[in-house]
């Protein structure tokens, strides 16, 4: 005999098994991105066309560096969890699990690559300034 009632076992779970947590996370990150993305378009877009030194100097400045890092961190998680929903809609079984692991890995990899590049840009720009003194 089960001691939990049907209701007690169902509350907060639903078909996802985790209630509305995923949905709420996407809502929160979408609001964050709504503030970040319009500025990012111009911060990123205005750097295109510069020389290598200019590109490094551009992203080494605090505002473009922090904004690009934020858009990457929030945007890549938003992508991973959004792509997960798409995969859960159209695929099943081991294929679904494999593809979800793939998009999660891809978004973490791209995040790490961008953060590494930004960090090295700050370092390169600081070194260049010290050499000029």
């Amino acid at each position: 005999m089960r001691y939990l009632t049907d209701r007690k076992r169902a509350v907060g779970k639903g078909a996802s098994g985790s209630g509305t947590e995923h949905f709420w996370w996407m809502t929160m990150s979408s609001v964050a991105l709504a503030f970040l993305v319009p500025t990012f378009i111009f911060t990123f877009g205005s750097a295109i066309g510069g020389t290598q030194e200019e590109v490094v100097a551009h992203f080494a400045r605090p505002f473009p560096a922090i904004l690009t890092a934020l858009v990457t961190l929030v945007g890549m998680r938003h992508f991973a969890k959004g792509a997960q929903v798409m995969l859960e809609d159209y695929t099943a079984g081991s294929l679904r699990k494999g593809l979800v692991i793939f998009v999660y890995s891809l978004s973490y990899l791209l995040t790490a690559i961008v953060l590494y590049a930004l960090g090295k840009m700050v370092f390169m720009d600081t070194a260049a300034q010290m050499l000029n003194q």
Partner: protein, 132 residues
């Protein structure tokens, strides 16, 4: 007492296919998913370009050529449109979450608004980027 009984319920057919005609509501919805997932391609090229900028000059030259060529321009313009479209339909979802704008007439108008708005915002963005 708590045994679950499987009930055979009819499933609603997929919105794209022979059962429904193409409609603004379903098409603007699927386009939200397509643009959102397509943006990973733009992010991929952007990240590649950034990592190339901290690599050797010859390596940067290769990636920068792709980014600044007409192919790169066309690609990033498509990404810009996708970004703005996904942005506007994302705002539409936030509106829907409050329980407003769910009537068919308003939802269809919001669909057209996202299509026209994304195109307009892409042009405005390109003009601003050309000036600055």
């Amino acid at each position: 007492m708590a045994e679950t009984k499987r009930v055979e319920r009819p499933l609603s057919p997929f919105m794209i296919g022979p059962y429904y005609r193409p409609q603004m509501t379903s098409m603007s919805s699927i386009l939200t998913r397509i643009t959102g997932n397509a943006l990973i391609a733009g992010f991929f090229l952007g990240a590649w370009w950034l990592i190339a900028a901290v690599s050797s000059p010859s390596y940067f030259a290769v990636v920068d050529w792709i980014v600044t060529s007409w192919i790169g321009w066309l690609f990033f313009t498509a990404m810009l449109w996708s970004m703005w479209y996904h942005y506007l339909t994302g705002l539409r979802h936030l509106l829907w979450d409050t329980g407003k704008g769910l009537d068919i007439e308003i939802a269809e108008k919001l669909g057209w608004g996202a299509l026209i708005g994304a195109t307009g915002l892409t042009f405005v963005s390109l003009i601003i980027l050309w000036i600055i």
